[in-house]
Amino acid sequence: MAREATLAAPVARPLLSRRARELLTGYLYLLPVAIALGGTVLFPILKAMQMSLYNHVLIKPQEYGFVGLANYARLLHDDVFWLTLWNSFLWVFGSVSFQFLGGFAAALLLHQAFRGRSLVRTLTLLPWIIPGVVVALIWEFIYQPNYGLLNDVLSRLGVMTERVAWLSSPVLAMPAVILTNIWRGVPFFAIMLLAGLQAIPTELYEAARVDGASVTQRFWHITVPMLRPIIVVATATRIVWTFNYADLIFVMTSGGPANATQITSTYTLMQAYSNLDFGYAATLSVVLLLIMLGFTIFYLRITRGLESTT
């Protein structure tokens, strides 16, 4: 009896309950990520918010000081800022809509079984993975007026007779950078939608065939509805990413000529790099952040809605 009691007694009772230890381990595992993102995202964002309240121009240190919301007031009256918002809209809409259409077509093609499929997949998806500055330089070379590829091809085809300076024309510069971005972004949609296509059970198509559904009917009644969640996710991600993306335009035109390709994110960059106006650049970036947060909340609402309907 006594022996049994000593056996049953806990030998070394742990200091914390099992549940508490689990929790502690969980938080411990999150500690590195908290430090990494705290130091490189959270703290800098707070710092940017603080900077946006200061007059902080690097070449005019004597004017440094707290100015409250003056930078935000300046932004409201800054015509270039409103122009960049409109340009951002054109840039995002033009890029994402064609990237989606091209990517969808590419995904449908690459989903078919044919000889050499994996090689063709790798080759056609390549533009997405290479560095942005590489994309920008390749296309700058293609658009080059005197010895670029595009002018030569178009004049050989008889489409045009005069050489066009694509990136220095106020009218053509925006379509030119958008075309470059389309080239870069088509593979993104192709990969996402290809992943979606592979997840659709083939039985659905077979059953529809037995019932006599045509190719187009199968496309609209099986493929599109089944892909809808992934289309929403991919498009939203791409819209945000394109809105924020500055590298291409920054390298190709720096927002020129005469702000014709200046989108809000490159305008923010130019304020910091060219004007060394860190206060105003911070203000612009905080506004960018607010726009993106608004869009993200809107997007999460939509995806929640999608989940509840399925």
């Binding site: 969980g26 940017a48 994996s118 560095p131 330089l137 593979p187 592979q198 019932d211 190719v215």
Partner: protein, 286 residues
């Protein structure tokens, strides 16, 4: 029971001519710019600036590559080594941090878990330009300008949120029972993670690691902002710097473009398959 009808006209056209024409157009659209730059990287100055345009270089001279690689002004060998180091360290550090975080979020149920997940999603939506000015003053204050650390730490801001998000999905797809039996056999949490979960999640972990490498390899804005010396430039920053020098040397620049592309292209051939699988797994969850 009815039998499926044979292929009708629309299917035959779509599966035949339309498929082949579409594939040809797609491949041409994707590859033509690469081919153009690849050819240009072998051209001599005279061939590059000739009118009418000379499409094929007379010889496959590697002079442009040698010049770019050994140039004093824009040493691509140095840029390449910098990119390799920054991207590799970012990859390893990101993967370690993300494995722990992804595992914790997939397995532990604690207060604030949803908030954490949402933060990782939202962080991916932040504009990089937002971080440039504050990070610059932060690295300046810490004396990290012109160091690899500044670039590596800054890269975490965009690699970590994505890899954590992806790894949570991978870890959740691994059955819990395997770990539980390992822990019954005397493994602690960390042992179970290393011996049971990681081997099973290895393809996913490898894919996210490669993603971190490729994303760091491509990074431009941090690299040009936090470095000022030529020896500290990465390939992306070096290419941009080269454009700023006098007139654009398209021959050397094309060689530099090819040099910057080849490593990620090789990694991508491996990544492609896993990425498509991983994305479909993640995307189905939404």
């Amino acid at each position: 029971m009815r039998r499926a009808p044979g292929r009708d006209l629309a299917e035959r056209v779509l599966g035949g001519p339309v498929l082949w024409l579409g594939l040809a157009a797609l491949t041409l659209f994707a590859m033509l710019p690469f081919v153009w730059v690849f050819l240009a990287s072998f051209k001599t100055r005279a061939e590059l600036y000739a009118t009418p345009i000379v499409y094929l270089p007379a010889s496959l001279s590697v002079a442009n590559y040698v010049e770019a690689w050994t140039s004093k002004l824009t040493p691509f060998s140095r840029f390449f080594a910098n990119s390799l180091w920054v991207s590799s360290v970012t990859m390893v550090a990101t993967t370690l941090v993300s494995i722990l975080a992804g595992y914790a979020l997939a397995r532990f149920r604690f207060a604030g878990r949803q908030t954490f997940l949402l933060i990782f999603l939202a962080t991916q939506m932040f504009p990089a330009v937002l971080l440039i000015a504050p990070l610059l003053s932060q690295w300046y204050a810490l004396g990290l300008i012109d160091t690899y650390q500044a670039l590596i730490y800054s890269n975490f801001s965009f690699t970590v949120p994505f890899t954590v998000w992806m790894l949570v999905g991978y870890f959740e797809s691994i059955p819990l029972e395997l770990e539980e039996s390992a822990m019954l056999d005397g493994c602690n949490r960390f042992g179970a993670l290393c011996r049971v979960v990681l081997p099973l999640a290895a393809p996913g972990v490898a894919a996210t690691a490669i993603f971190a490498f490729v994303a760091s390899w491509s990074e431009l804005l941090f690299a040009i902002t936090f470095t000022s010396q030529t020896e500290m430039r990465t390939l992306s920053a070096g290419l941009l710097f080269m454009v700023g020098q006098y007139e654009i040397q398209w021959g050397q620049l094309s060689a530099g473009v090819i040099i910057s592309t080849v490593p990620v292209a090789i990694l991508f051939t491996y990544l492609q398959r896993h990425l498509i699988q991983g994305l479909s797994a993640g995307a189905v969850k939404g």
